[in-house]
Amino acid sequence: MATTATGTSSYTADHGHAHVDDRSFLRKYIFSTDHKIIGIQFLLMSLTFLLLGGTLAMVMRWQLGFPGKPLPGGTLLPETYTNNGVVLPEFYNAAVTMHGTFMVFFAIMPLLVGVFGNYLIPLKIGAPDMAFPRINMASFWTAVPAGLLMLAGFFVEGGSAAAGWTSYAPLSARSDLTGVHLGQIFWCLSLIILGLSSIMGSFNYITTVINLRAPGMNWFRLPLSIWALFVTACLVLLAIPVLSGAAILLLFDQTIGTHFFDPVAGGQPLLWQHLFWFFGHPEVYILILPGMGMASDIIANGARKPIFGYSSMVLAIIAIGFLGWGVWGHHMFQSGMNPTLGTTFMISTLLIAVPSAIKTFNWLGTIWQGNITFHVPMLHALAFVSMFVIGGLSGVFMAASPFDIYIHDTYFIVAHLHYVLFGGSLFAIFAAVTYWYPKMFGRMMNPFWGKVHFWLTLVFYNCTFFPMHQLGLHGHMRRIYDPTQYAFLREVQPVNVFISISAFCLFATQFIFAANFIVSWFKGEKAPMNPWLDNGLEWTVASPPPHGNFGATVPTVYRGPYEYSSPHSDQDYLPQNLPMPGAASAHPQPAGD
């Protein structure tokens, strides 16, 4: 955490005298109650897990592209992982499981909710901090042991959990079936603890948005990022307890001899799937809604134009928040669930395409007749739109239950979910990190290396994931350690080789981002207050903002956040807190009050 200190020291030096800041180093940067520091703490933690999850993906891609060949550096791993450097099925199944677990629970979800929920909500609604700052701190410090416990699985006998990130029972419940005992228990315990962190975070966000909005910041002046984070927090609050409950039942099955999911004593394996996906499908929207919201903010900024159809964008977010609860069965079409339910879930799943389509058309409407600036965050936000379209459309194939019979549990699903979670969520995260980096750290990221990283990522990402559609159409199953076991898959093995090489390039490209992130922190150009000429309240305070955000005077809000190119202003933007339209021309850089 020493690095955090460097990043924010400029603020403490400047403002230490104005604000009674007798907090110790520990209080300022480690056990801080400041939502901005907590957001940055979540950022560092989840980027670390993103790197770990990516590393595990490389292990999988090595094995799939070159089955039986020694993994580079594989001989350094313990012999329970590799044999003469060759990845063992034990390690492969662990990598499959922990890649999914890290990415969903410890990377993408905290990046969206933990980082930007924390950092943006108070700043964007004009609040000095979260409604419950201490609970906010507790939320982060609960996530840390959860992450460490999940990691610890790799270092205990039997290795980490290996039943897939979906942890289907009875495989996950019985160590005689997986060969993993402690690792599966750690998986359950870690997610139960992480659930507490998420619940503490979510009611904090909900309360803050409802109660701490600045004067004039009514609901329909909220930025779409805040709407999305608000609906996401509601989904988290309602969905996570279901996962926690299911994980507790699974933990009991593993440890104290209950049989909730074991048919031998009257349990029901499908109960796990119903519980998991009742959580899991809202989770899918938890992982995409904040990205949609932040991309909306950034696209309006880049296009210098009001967001197209603000109300329908808000309604679409709310509609997804409701419909998301009624589609979980589409994960279970082939599970043995009553087939009549299959038809019901097919229709509800197809209908949820409607709000997603509305959002896409509105993003197109926003750039139409704009005056588009291609800054790095804008590039990522546009890639988000164009990749999310592919992920959304490929979802229609599996929603149609008869065709899902064929592609369920194949690489078509892997392609689809990565177009949504990488093409969608992760591009939105790159957009958001590069957009709010100057505010967080007071320095600009290097735009040249930002663009290099963007273009290489876009190309290698598509080379990696697009051909997975073809593999799936060929019948290539997921989660198989060695596809060459099957004659019908040997003929598409060259596609696996191509995907693996692309994936290695994609992974390598991310070190450009990491280097840009770290170097800019120390050596980046000093960020002005409002580098993107944005209307939001966070851009009316210093970069980084002082403790307490807006000082003694709470900003007053006069309009929505998307008043770009307004005829009332000579500039092409009009900050939310500027009192008199028309008088704006005299104040290109409004100072906050």
Binding site: V264, L351, V389, I405, D409, L473, F488
Partner: protein
């Protein structure tokens, strides 16, 4: 490598090919059109409305008319896809979809093998001439077969890509799945649900015989069972 960018489905060998593949091609065309429209519009807008000095973006907040059009068009398209797909689902997976004259077999999955019980010469399961073979699925062509799927341990998934059929085998449940092969030859049966360390090698050979060949194979098996 021929499959690299092919959007065609591989050749199939059951009646479900006719029920399922056209749905795929229909969705491919519909989503293909949507994909091209959206991505082309995106690229055209990005080029046409790129930043130029002295220009200001048009100050508009939306269009109710456009919203109504694209919302209702999308809703109609997805509902039509759903309505067109539903009959195939009922036929393949519906409780009443199994043809009454289908030949019954039992498929018992366990880590990491498929054990298939055949009804013998009398065509009925539960009689003394039943026999069980590991790792080989033999079925007659042009005649429906109904398999009762069970599992010994974890969840497995019965997947024959050439037949376009997939169904999980869940411990504690008896799940019926049927198919009717249309071409003789050898195919592969794989496990599609992660079931443990040997999941990747949980495969079996599927042989589709003519009825006469199938009867001969059954007689041969019955003979070798009797000798044991």
């Amino acid at each position: 490598m021929g499959n690299f960018l092919s959007w065609m489905l591989p050749p199939g060998a059951s009646t479900f090919v006719g029920d399922i593949d056209w749905i795929y091609y229909l969705i491919l065309v519909v989503t293909g059109i949507a994909f091209v429209l959206v991505e082309v519009a995106l690229i055209v807008f990005l080029v046409k409305y790129r930043k130029r000095p002295g220009r200001k973006a048009t100050y508009v907040h939306g269009s109710t008319r456009a919203e109504i059009i694209w919302t209702s068009v999308t809703a109609v398209v997805v509902v039509v896809i759903g309505v067109l797909s539903a009959p195939a689902w009922d036929k393949i997976k519906g409780r009443n979809g199994v043809p009454p004259d289908a030949m019954p077999i039992e498929v018992h999955a366990k880590q990491f093998e498929w054990n298939i019980t055949y009804p013998g010469a009398d065509g009925k399961l539960g009689t003394t001439d039943d026999f069980t073979v590991r790792g080989q699925l033999h079925v007659p062509v042009d005649r429906p077969t109904v398999a009762t799927l069970t599992s010994e341990d974890a969840i497995h998934s019965f997947f024959v890509p050439a037949f376009r059929i997939k169904q999980d085998a869940v411990p504690g449940m008896h799940i019926r799945v049927w198919f009717q092969p249309t071409k003789t030859g050898e195919y592969e049966l794989g496990c599609a649900e992660l079931c443990g360390l040997g999941h990747y090698r949980m495969r079996a050979v599927v042989t589709v015989h003519t009825q006469a060949d199938y009867d001969r194979w059954v007689a041969q098996q019955a003979h070798s069972v009797a000798q044991r």
